[in-house]
Assembly symmetry: C2
Homo-oligomer: 331 residues x 2
């Protein structure tokens, strides 16, 4: 197979990963054998699989580099939400008709640059023909022990609910990508920052580990939106969560996009794909949590509280939080 198209493609992907700064450590068996072989893990393994499918997670307005970045970012964000340290990644690529090695190299480059930033090795993959471009990314991380990790089930009544960074940027970015005339309401820098929130999300890996070490109760990454992801914590922890709409940190430009589109900033702020972390802390530990976040250069905002019961309520005129976004973004 040394001269076959598949062999050549694998070699070009390996080269693209090396150029991106991702290289297997000595002694590791990486791409090219039946399976990868890596050193054992003293503590616990933390593993997640994440799909990224054309038409569902990205459109043809995304470059192949951006598709590779976003697919890996979504998977790494799950490890961030556990407080785990990422180690290695594996990529399955379903290639549509006409797909070529150049596109595979571009996708590998986008993945590889993000992987190199976080010290993640890309050690294996598979390629198959299909009708549409799809990526399946499995990430393996580690932690000293299970107690060092944060699940979705650790929220307790009385806890504060906090969120990192700012919300709504990814949804406003998708709106701007889908309806370019919306960018007329924004400075070029703000428009580009919103687009980047959509196509190049940054997994909050350092922050996740810092919050885990600071004693987080429950944690999840915001892939489905702050309301939907709060419901996951409420459900898995057996508690109620009250969010305060007036406390939500809204990203710059989101209000302008919402106004131009005749919508509501809260619709965008709750729409998901921001990949920020939603986390609960006992009230006494909130100060330490804010310091831990500041220590890794991230902001954290108290946006609600945990109570007895079940489900999520939104106080402060929050009826539209995360509602009606699909209609807006898809036009």
């Amino acid at each position: 197979m040394r001269n076959s198209p598949e062999f050549e493609l694998i070699e070009r992907v390996r080269e693209a990963l090396r150029e991106a700064g991702v290289e297997p450590a000595p002694g590791v068996v990486g791409i090219g054998d039946d399976a990868a072989v890596t050193p054992g893990i003293d503590g616990v393994l933390v593993t997640s699989i994440d799909l990224c499918v054309e038409g569902t997670h990205f459109s043809d307005a995304f470059s192949d580099e951006q598709v590779g970045h976003k697919a890996l970012a979504g998977a790494l964000s799950d490890l961030a939400a556990m407080g785990a340290r990422p180690r290695e990644a594996y990529a399955g690529l379903v290639a549509p008709p006409g797909f070529d090695a150049g596109r595979a190299v571009a996708i590998a480059g986008g993945m590889g640059r993000l992987a190199a930033t976080h010290g993640v090795a890309i050690l294996g993959g598979d390629l198959a023909a299909g009708k549409q471009l799809a990526l399946s990314i499995t990430v393996i991380g580690e932690a000293p022990d299970a107690g060092a990790l944060v699940t979705r089930s650790g929220a307790s009544p009385g806890d504060a609910v906090l969120v990192s960074g700012e919300l709504g940027g990814a949804a406003a970015g998708l709106a701007v990508i889908s309806r370019p005339e919306l960018a007329n309401e924004l400075s070029p820098a703000v428009a580009e920052a919103l687009r980047a929130r959509q196509h190049s999300p940054q997994p909050r890996l350092e922050l996740g580990r810092a919050l885990a070490a600071a004693g987080a109760g429950a944690m999840i990454d915001l892939s489905d939106g702050v309301r939907a992801d709060s419901e996951q914590i409420a459900s898995e922890s057996g508690v109620a969560i009250e969010l305060r709409a007036d406390r939500l940190p809204i990203a710059e430009g989101v209000e302008a996009v919402a106004a131009a589109a005749g919508s509501d900033p809260l619709s965008l702020a709750g729409a998901g794909e921001d990949y920020e972390l939603l986390v609960t802390f006992e009230p006494d530990a909130v100060e330490a949590a804010l310091e831990a976040a500041a220590g890794v250069g991230e902001g954290l905002t108290v946006i609600g509280s945990v109570g007895e019961g079940s489900g999520v309520t939104v106080a402060g005129n929050g009826e539209t939080l995360g509602r009606g976004f699909d209609h807006l973004a898809r036009g």
Copy 2:
């Protein structure tokens, strides 16, 4: 999300996995959190990802149970070819329009029954909408150390080349599935055995570990066919391989299918998807290899030898080995 369709689907899949005999061990964080958490590994991790896409790896003549089985079998077969012990599996499912929880449960059942047979836990997954059914399976296994594993690069000139089981069954099965009239040439039991080789392949996990322990040089599983997979070993090991067509163990019914289809048994025998193991041993170790295989109830046949040079040659009227199969099976 407790009442959402996605939550209900995940609960039904968990239940299907429990019924299939697959249950996370105590203390393991399985399906339902951001990531799975499992105990550390003393030796080395062995990891592989494998795609299984509608139209490429299976047709609508496959039941959903068979799709689930075949997808997991293909991934586990890669661990077999390393000599690793499988531990856990993760499944990404791209769901086409109209897909429902019943289909997810059937796929999980097919995966789960195979997983239970081999003591594999299914600990996570992801679901996304797409145009066609596709499964991405990542399997993680373990071994005491890297020296206990068998890569594709360990073949040396003078080694014997052996193959497990019998060849051509999967391709003949695909021909019978695609062209049911071919079954008229076979007893019902043989026709069913061939179909099963196609839709329910059995990964040779015990055999892989036994051959690794017996000192195998290089090993690969037969997914692409004995000629193409020999080329992988030749290429990665920097050697030449000569296969003897007249020594290949051909599965019962393959000759009859080939005759009825106006083809050649070797075309089917080299077509792949048999998921048998192709392995090299020093001549002095062949007897021990045969005993190791017999010890786990498997047969092993010497089918060639390793020499200096590069590439694969086929002696004994082997020109048609693995050639022209696509036309037969799809046509």
